[in-house]
Assembly symmetry: C2
Homo-oligomer: 200 residues x 2
Amino acid sequence: MPSAQSAAAPSADRRTAILDAAIAVIARQGVRGLRVEKVAAEAKVAVSLIYYYFGNRTGLVRATLEHSNEQAASTLDDAEGDERSGRELVDAVLLGEFDDDAHTVALSIVWGEIVASAVFEPDLREQLAAATERWTTLVRDTIRVGVADGSIPAGVDAQAAATRLTATVEGLSNRWHAGLLDREAARALLTGAIAAELRG
Amino acid sequence: MPSAQSAAAPSADRRTAILDAAIAVIARQGVRGLRVEKVAAEAKVAVSLIYYYFGNRTGLVRATLEHSNEQAASTLDDAEGDERSGRELVDAVLLGEFDDDAHTVALSIVWGEIVASAVFEPDLREQLAAATERWTTLVRDTIRVGVADGSIPAGVDAQAAATRLTATVEGLSNRWHAGLLDREAARALLTGAIAAELRG
């Protein structure tokens, strides 16, 4: 029988609550330490509900990756329609990965963990490849907005620059989370990498 | 009692054999899956010998990081005294991270794993910070060789460029090992990143 709580929450909300709980658990303990039971406890739902929605642990990790990717993409959706140049939007999208609110930090740790885990868990690779391409494409298209509005030189290879800059964000993020770089240093380094890539 | 094999091998050789075994185990299964028993089986030594040399699992992981870092640094020692420009040496040192011999690949996976693990294992951070600084300093000094011999423009900030380029290597390496990029694509992207950073 559904509990009073789960009966009160619509299905989509409960699914989102489980994914937010998975993000919190991965950010604290890593993907490799992820147990469905821990996520159920964090989300205050039955373990069986997680299996019902996601099938198994891999399905849960994949859905968590998708969920964190959607949240990252929504940053740019929010920016659309504003008056910033393409160059300013590139800065906003990439530097936004180093915001210090707890949710952004958790998403960033989750992303690094899933990339690292995919080395040893081939089941994650297809989903990760799609998520990485989605992110790279978003940055590439933002660079192209800058080329179109004149804020970025026409000679820039948008696809290559986007792939390199997102990989640099990942490298710097991992060092940040491992305590090797503070957030401000990571942002300053990334600002320099963007400038070097987008000089044309 | 020592076995015939361990009696025959000098102590330094046995220590190195254990560290090479640890590299092999981490490259296959990750740091989080590392058990001292697996390394002992891989190295064909007694578990007690590993505790004798390294104290505990964390000591073994730290020593493995140090060992893999020494091997990476030796790449440049080999290059010293040759007639390549500083710019060519920067390419050699950074692109060498994407060589396809099994040992280089294993060291690269181990490095990525230790960075990822340090997010959740603070005991690894001090050692990782020292190893990362050593690698960055090596790249920075190679850039300075290029500035001195005129192969790299004087306006380049060697420290910042070295930090960014090594972080980009880490980001691209992780994508390579996770199956998101092939080795040649990673090398081509890195070549472009070096060119962008070292234009001055």
